[in-house]
Each structure stands twice: as C-alpha cells, then as structure tokens.
Symmetry: C2
Subunit: 282 residues, 2 copies
C-alpha cells in the first residue's frame, strides 16, 4: 500500500512528516508513505509556487505506483491549482483514493465532480501536531490501508451518498466549475475560526444555491474556535444551520462527527457502503 | 425630494441620524429625510428582527411618497431579508432610487437583477461617523437630490453598464437567486478588513463564475484595513485582482474610486449616463 503525500495549500513542516512516518511504522506497517519534496517548499503563503504544487499533485496522482493521494494539510491554496490539476489527470489518477479536508475541499470537490470514485473527507498528516492528533492520523491510515469502518463517521446513512466540506470552502466554490452535483446527498459541514455572523452569511450562501437545495439533507459537525462576535450573535451554530435549512427547504438531519480536531472522522464521498459492515476501500 | 432611510443590516445609532439630518439641512435643504424607527431597533447583531427589517424596507419602498430609499449602514444582515423583501415590492418601489454599499450589496444585487432601474453603490448615513465622512454623506445627497455628476466615480465609462460591490458580499451571492446578470458590465470591487488570502480566495470564487466571466472588465477600488497575513501574502490587492482577471480572461481595467472610506464615489448600476455630462437621476 503506497501512499503519496502532496501539499496543495499552505506550507508543511518537515518535522510533521517525520512524526507521521514514525507513527505509520507503528500503526500501519503495511503503508509506505512518500512525502513529495514539494511539501516542504516555501513560497509566500504556500508550499511552493502554484506550478510546483500543481505539478507535484499531478505527478503523484498520475503515478500508478501509488494507491492513494493524501493531502498533507489545509490552510489556503488548493483553489489556485485546481483548474490546472484537474485538466491533467489521467486514468491512473482515477484509480486511487484521495483524503483530506479543510482547504483540500476545493480539490475534493473538483475530483468528485469529475467522477472520481474514491474521494474522502478526513484527517491529514498535519493533524499529528494537534492534541491527541496521533489518533486522527492513525484513523486516516486505518481507512486508507484497511478501509476500516471504525474510521468512518457513524452518522453515515447506509445507501445514501454523502459529501463533507468546511463551510467556508464550500461557500467559495458555489457557482464555479468545482461545485459537485449534491442532489440526493447528505451534506456534512464543519467550520473553524470564523465569527458566527460569517458562518450565518456562508450558510445563507450555501443554502440559497439551487444545486445545494437538491441535497437529501444537511448534518452539522463541529464549529470550533468561534471568533468573538460583537455584538453577540445570539444564536449557536446549530441554530444558524437549522435556520437556513428551514428557509431553504433542506432537511436538517442532526450532528455528525467531523471538525478541525483530533476526533474528525472519515466521510467517503458518494454512496455509503452497505450497512457500514465491511471494508470501504480495498 | 423625500428620502426614506431603513437599516436592513446592523444596528444604527440614533445620534448618527441626527447628525445626518443636520448636515442635510445645510447641504441639501430640498431633501426631506425620514429615518424609519426600525433603524434604531436592536436585535442581537441586527437593527431589529428579520421581520422588522424586512417590513420597514417594504413599507418605505412601496410608499409612493418617497423618491429614494437610502440604506442607513452596512455590517451584516441584508441577505437574511432579501428574499422576503424582493417578493413584496410593488410598482412604487420600482420608481425610486436605492443607494448603499457594503452589506447593502445583497439587496442592491437582487433589486438590479429584478430590473430596478435606479440602483446605486455609494455612501450611507453611517459614513457621517468617519473622518471626513460629512463629505461622503453630502456626496450621496448631491446624487440623490440633484443627480450631481461630481458625485460619480470618474472611472465610469460613458455608455457601458456598471455595477459595484464589496468583494466578500459579491462572493456570497454568487450562484444564488440574488446574482445579477453582469454580462458586458464594468464590475467595480472594493474590500475592507480582510486578510489578503481571503481576498485572493474570494477573487478565485468571483472570477470562476461563468456569469462574472461575461463582464466587460473589472476595476479595483480601495482595499482598506487589510488584516495581517501570516506568512506575508507577498502580493498586493492589485496583483491579486490582476492575477485572477488574467486567469479568467476578464479584462482588468485599472483602479476606481470606491471603498470603505470618506472618498467613496457613487456608481449607478446599469448604463452610464451619456458622457457623464448631465443629471443622472431626476
């Protein structure tokens, strides 16, 4: 099981790669991790220039020697390379799994829209730096290597297609060529480090889109590190999401187990496995 | 000339209303300003509940006794009432002018999309609180009362249709029922209090929309109070906008004279007046 790691967004520290390699040797000895040197480049906000990040992604994605492509971390930058990357992916890219979250959602969305079958929202190598983050990284490896059902969000409904996004990231791809068809999907959402008025505004945006209104329902993960709202917004994140679901005629289905934290579970895009009882991906 | 003032977004202080009334008595004695009592309501983040704000807007907009409706201020909240407001506007609402900017852009967009002919981006009563803000308010009144051409952004190109928005606000209405047809328009953009990576992300979003890509070009106003980016973003706001215009095939037309400041000029939506040589609105 060979897993390639690339960093389409913000700069990734080499020491995190070493920690993840050591952890993987213990918890997933069958996994061979390959961090692309691009992960450690620095260009302003990013892990290298747009060209360097796009080229690294395309190189590993098109390499039939890798079974999976793992996003090193989020931050910002994936939207800047999405168009270039998606135009260059070949058959070998379609055969592999993709795992990430947060800013990686721009590429997950584009891959899923393009019909890639093994796209998933879940922990990334940089999560190793969180309190308890080794559990998140081990969970991601358990899904990548063994398709471990315990890695999955228990809120996943058997038989229904799912998708998961950071609220701000999904908002910023509405109405673009990256927006996937979410008709009939359970849409799972999470947020970090935003003011509640911004989350409210983003939920207006997301739930006012005709495509999103075709979703089977919305579930809310965790909204962490909420910034102080002046004046107090007066509504919790769940009240905000319930409000906009009701306004848009989208069923609100309750909470789910995703977020910018060590507890973040894996959500494969598309139809859920039968009864969540077996391996998800080979 | 009767001008109604409503506050679809954040709370508006009564003392600002008094200052604007005193200023109007000096600089625009023909203007009769009427601040709706809703402006001074308080409900969490907003100038009253969604229902109170929507009802006040609809009441004044549908009142044939008013020649213009002026947004008291921005902040946040207009998107929450836009759908309710737009569904209830009658013929008298179509006959009047609308002036505001920032969060008011949600309603300006929806009004313009609905075919309202006298929608404009420009200063609001709350600008009186800025350094030099009396000039901004006087400029708005000069346009509302006399159609003063000196109030207009000198970058306006005679004969071409224009529209102006805050970048974050326009981003949040892409792909919704508020997004106006911008084909052939000069799109003028400004920003305030955002990190450069957020402006970059919003410009990806805006310029990746097929409708926006039909614009005749984009002009950039001022981006003020830019928040510290860690690490430094390495590009100015003009470099960011040039980058995304080039990527999207939208001509970048240079700067314009709008922004969250006392210098903010008026931009009427739709075709510019002939040669900017006469009155804009009666």
């Amino acid at each position: 099981m060979r897993i390639g790691v690339v960093a389409p967004s913000s700069r990734f520290p080499e020491e995190s790669a070493r920690r993840v390699e050591a952890l993987a040797a213990r918890v997933a000895p069958d996994a061979a991790l390959h961090f692309h040197p691009q992960c450690f480049l620095r260009h302003n906000h990013f892990a290298g220039t747009d060209a360097a990040r796009a080229d690294a992604f395309v190189e590993f994605a098109n390499d039939p020697g890798f079974d999976a492509l793992w996003f090193a971390r989020g931050g910002y930058g994936a939207c800047r390379i999405a168009e270039s990357v998606l135009a260059r992916l070949g058959p070998a890219a379609r055969a592999k799994a993709y795992l990430g979250y947060s800013d990686a959602g721009f590429l997950l969305a584009g891959l899923y829209r393009a019909g890639f079958a093994r796209v998933a929202h879940g922990p990334m190598p940089q999560d190793v730096a969180r309190d308890g983050g080794e559990a998140a990284v081990a969970r991601a490896l358990a899904w990548l290597v063994r398709g471990d059902r315990d890695a999955l969000d228990p809120a996943i409904a058997p038989g229904l297609p799912h998708a998961a996004f950071n609220i701000t990231v999904l908002g910023h791809l509405i109405g673009t060529g990256l927006q996937p068809d979410l008709a009939g999907h359970v849409l799972m959402l999470e947020e970090v480090s935003e003011h509640m008025y911004r989350t409210d505004r983003a939920m207006f945006h997301i739930t006012s889109n005709d495509g999103v209104r075709q979703a089977a329902g919305i579930r809310l993960g965790r909204c962490s590190d909420v910034q102080p709202n002046d004046p107090d917004f007066g509504e919790s994140e769940e009240e905000v999401v319930r409000h906009w679901c009701a306004r848009a005629g989208i069923p609100y289905l309750g909470r789910c187990d995703i977020g910018h934290d060590a507890g973040n579970r894996v959500v494969p895009f598309g139809p859920a496995p039968q009864a969540l009882s077996g391996a998800v991906a080979s």
